[in-house]
């Protein structure tokens, strides 16, 4: 049987930019506009059945990858039935980054997407309640971006401050 990543590539062709299985982790890198279609298929297709959206995060590759690839949104999926895992990565450009929300597919993605918005400033289109989750609303900037200085302080003293 073909590896998972090959099955995804066969099904979606051009929407899959590349795949790898580094350290044994099945990984597919897909185009941003195909997120909803690929994810829905992965959840419902009988040979995939990824019913768990285990983790959703992002990585800032500033200075490491070309600017068109600055961010990557990373999904880790797990299938209870087949006991297999896959990692889906979606490159997101630097310029007012955004991506489709997958809350309609796994409702557990809600808070995870809010966290990525909070930390990286990547907007999730179609998210029902996209606001900061770990930080406070008045916080300026997105701290996990590589250009946010680690020593920067933003004290929140009171509502009138």
């Amino acid at each position: 049987m073909a590896e998972l990543r090959e099955q995804v590539q066969r099904k979606f062709g051009d929407a899959v930019l590349t795949t790898h299985a580094e350290h044994g982790d099945q990984t597919v890198i897909i185009r941003k506009d195909a997120v909803l279609e690929v994810m829905r298929w992965m959840r419902d297709e009988p040979s995939m059945l990824f019913n768990f959206m285990m983790d959703l995060t992002a990585v800032d590759y500033k200075g490491i990858k070309p600017p068109v690839w600055r961010f990557e949104v990373v999904y880790h999926l797990y299938s209870l039935k087949h006991n297999h895992r896959i990692r889906v990565k979606v490159p997101v450009a630097d310029d007012s980054p955004s991506i489709d929300s997958i809350v309609s597919i796994w409702k557990g993605a809600d808070w995870f997407e809010r966290e990525v918005w909070d930390m990286y400033g990547i907007a999730f289109k179609g998210h029902p309640n996209l606001k900061r989750i770990l930080l406070y609303e008045e916080f300026e900037g997105h701290p996990l971006r590589k250009d946010y200085p680690i020593k920067k302080r933003q004290p929140l003293i009171g509502p009138d401050n």
Partner: protein, 393 residues
């Protein structure tokens, strides 16, 4: 006659005496009934990832202690496994090290469940039960302290090994403590499991369906209480979990009572795992023989030039991890703790992400208490076992 009523907005938390963990519930109440519950987290956010990205690979360990601080060693182990996977040295970790890691993970699980169950009962008014489990936890923490010198912030594991070997008399200490813990367990069980007041608070409250739990990304005891037999230790065995016999307790209804029962049984299963391993502990070193990954011994560092160079380089520049990415799932006390690490090559992580199990669980609070009574929030939130350090990072 129709009374003119309108919902009452009630602010519960962030420091509420009946919830362990800083979290705020914004409730819309109709009398005692919860119409809507909005959960707000983030009060314990410390910038875990940002700090990890600024330190070397080894300097991340103390930060991982402070995620789920009730079972710090599990986080240490999960992180170490992920770095070892990136380095490609998973198969070279000495057997003794792996066995010790397994034992320490299970001791942590016991301590975590004791804390969770004990504190939850305290919040439900059962102070006596709390005292039994706090004592059991104390005895368990004594064992952990004898191994690594700290009860909570253990900082015990290293990439490629451990900070230190087991102390002398470790097996005897464990064998002395376990019978006492079993007595505490049965006292606790007698006080609660068939207690009418306890059952009224726990049974049929805070439930969630199997389908919903999966959609929310539930893992750990709360998922197993719904009847789903998913445990990373069985599904994707790591450490020595494929070489020991243990059972995965599952519930039927997914309510708070089932979550309690699952945790109670998991304590017994953890003891079973430890007892199987403790008598056949492999000998040999606990650290990998690779000075570029694990610092050489102090004697070598002080006596040999090459060892001193490695010690210096590992400390100042950090272990050199080749570029790549890896995800390692492990079974934490609360559910799947997964580390997703990205390296761009060099001494510091480019990304150090931990999947916090209670983040996904807390997310479902609103749905689990909708239509329930105000008092049901307490046991439901208790059984979620939100750990601020892990949820808010």
């Amino acid at each position: 006659m129709d009374l003119h009523t309108e919902p009452l907005v009630l602010n519960m938390g962030p420091s509420h005496p009946a919830t362990h963990g800083t979290v705020r519930f914004l409730l819309k109440m109709d009398g005692e009934k919860v119409l809507h519950c909005e959960t707000e987290i983030g009060y314990l956010h410390r910038g875990f990832e940002k700090q990890c990205e600024a330190g070397t690979w080894t300097q991340v360990f103390p930060y991982t202690d402070r995620l789920n601080y009730n079972s710090a060693i599990q986080n240490n182990v999960a992180y170490a496994l992920a770095v070892e996977k990136l380095l490609g040295i998973t198969g070279q970790i000495p057997e003794r090290s792996t066995a010790i890691r397994t034992i320490m993970c299970e001791l942590s699980r016991m301590a975590d469940h004791y804390t969770n169950l004990g504190a939850s009962m305290l919040e439900l008014g059962a102070l006596t039960a709390f005292l039994y489990f706090v004592e059991a936890r104390e005895l368990t923490w004594d064992i952990i302290e004898s191994v690594c010198g700290a009860r909570l912030t253990s900082n015990y594991v290293r990439v490629g090994g451990l900070s230190t070997d087991l102390p002398e008399g470790f097996a005897a200490h464990v064998k002395e403590v376990f019978p006492v813990n079993r007595v505490f367990w049965s006292e606790f069980d007698k006080l609660l499991t068939k207690n009418r007041i306890f059952l009224d608070r726990m049974r049929d409250t805070g439930g969630i369906s199997e389908e919903n739990a999966i959609a929310y990304g539930f893992t750990g005891p709360c998922l197993r209480a719904c009847g789903v037999e998913y445990d990373v230790r069985k599904a994707n065995p790591y450490l020595l979990y494929d070489q020991v016999d243990f059972d995965i307790p599952v519930g039927f209804t997914g309510d708070n009572f089932d979550r309690y029962l699952v945790r109670m049984e998991e304590i017994n299963q953890s003891m079973r795992i430890i007892e199987q391993l403790i008598d056949k502990m492999p000998g040999g070193p606990v650290n990998i023989d690779n000075p570029a990954v694990r610092n050489p011994s102090k004697e070598a560092v002080k006596g040999r030039m090459e060892s001193m160079i490695f010690h210096f380089k590992n400390t100042i520049e950090g272990i050199q991890v080749p570029a790549g990415e890896a995800y390692v799932p492990t079974e934490g006390s609360n559910g799947e703790v997964g580390f997703y690490l990205v390296s761009s090559g060099g001494g510091k992580p480019l990304k150090c992400r931990v999947r916090p199990p209670c983040f996904a669980l807390t997310q479902a609070m609103g749905e689990m208490v909708q239509g329930a009574f105000l008092s049901d929030i307490i046991p439901t939130f208790d059984m979620i076992n939100l750990i601020g350090g892990e949820c808010d990072r």
